[in-house]
Amino acid sequence: MPVFLLSSKFHNLQELRHSASLVTKVFIQRDYSEGTVCRFQTKFPSELDNRIERTLLEETVKTLNSYYAEAEKIGGQSYLEGCLACATAYIIFLCMETRYEKVLRKISGYIQEQNEKIYAPRGLLLTDPIERGMRVLEISLFEDRGSGGSSPSSSMSSGSSAR
């Protein structure tokens, strides 16, 4: 049987799923009030009330929204990219990474950093929206398997059955 010995912090994050058990998932939906631009709702989900401070999650969502706004911004750089691509019959897209893809990589790094610093210690895990088709920001709630005392999630286990 395969055995994982966790040595680096990165793997700790990914193995969160193996050590703890998944209780529920909370989905933060898209906010379409400004059109088709990618934005997530900053409304705080009630299921996370006793897991994380409001301000932390709001800060994360606001930063993500600003990243997406930067990716989709219509301005000088995007025009340049668009015109250059058109002039080369769009062949340039085969070799070059678009600005959007660059920003998505930044977002990926940011989410990983946030997970390591803020969310994993609280038994939460953010999933990069690109892995969910930019529809939702998925937050997985974990509970330590076997131990009920150390994490405040014991109240969550009774809460999840009431749904």
Partner: protein
Amino acid sequence: MHLGVSESMRECEYSQISTRSSTPMETPYKKRTPKKRKWEAFPGRNKFYCDGRIMMAKQTGVFYLTLVLILVTCGLFFTFDCPFLALQLTPIIPVIGGVLFLFVLGTLLRTSFSDPGVLPRATPDEAADLERQIDVANGGTGYRPPPRTKEVVINGQTVKLKYCFTCKIFRPPRASHCSLCDNCVERFDHHCPWVGNCVGRRNYRFFYMFILSLSFLTIFIFAFAITHIILLAVSHRSGFLNALKDSPASVLEVVVCFFSVWSIVGLSGFHTYLISSNQTTNEDIKGSWSSKRGKDNYNPYSHGNIFTNCCAALCGPLPPSLIDRRGFIQSDAPQLAPPTNGITMYGATQSQQSHM
């Protein structure tokens, strides 16, 4: 084979050994099965080629017709008309023709082969969460639920978001479900059989460039094929009918171009209008933003002036594909228990994570 679970989850320090837990749902571990790519399990009715790099609709017959028409007409032009015209007039003519031809071909292939902006279907957890929310909104009663719509105010206009029963998501504004491809597509314009694909957010600019350059190419070939015939008739002094017999290829080109030019130039004009008012074909056909619907009805997505609308549609940022066709399917991703079981603890099984 023992499970050592770290007590505190506050510190990110795990010194534990995780083994595969045997749950009843665990699939037998296959040692050396080749990992499947996501396109192989794609739920829509699309066809994939080149190991997921190329994506087209199911019916591609008309696309091949388009390709053949363009290739044959241009082939005839370059073979029969260009040598004559290059000598008699100027060699720039075949050069311009060549550039136009390559541009048309490039944009056609880009339009046909790329992902138009397909929205991936909801994961089972998301779908369950949405269903729960809808049930709560309906008051929990089981009988005859009203049509699932959500209203959102965009720039002062109330827009209805519909729930897609196939994809199990609330469609974003301007998205629509293509019944031919069985996918929800972002900023859905229309399904074009001539390019063998849907036209949506990600390939609209390629489509527009294709029909625009094809208009120029058609007019170009039409004009110079006629020029060729006229020059033949005049220079050889053999009469118009003899000129036609001397260059039958030109006649064929003229006929093909004559019948195509109306529809293609018309389509280019129509799409130029759509781009300048930032509408999709879908919205225009339905009259979503037409003033006939109401005095206060206006297009909330328009940027206000024609120039900005054009720039946004053609030179805006190109979003990447959301469906990750060439990614590998991660087997055994941890999933939630069905809600009826109350508290259920799922041991996550080993997942082959290909971290992005």
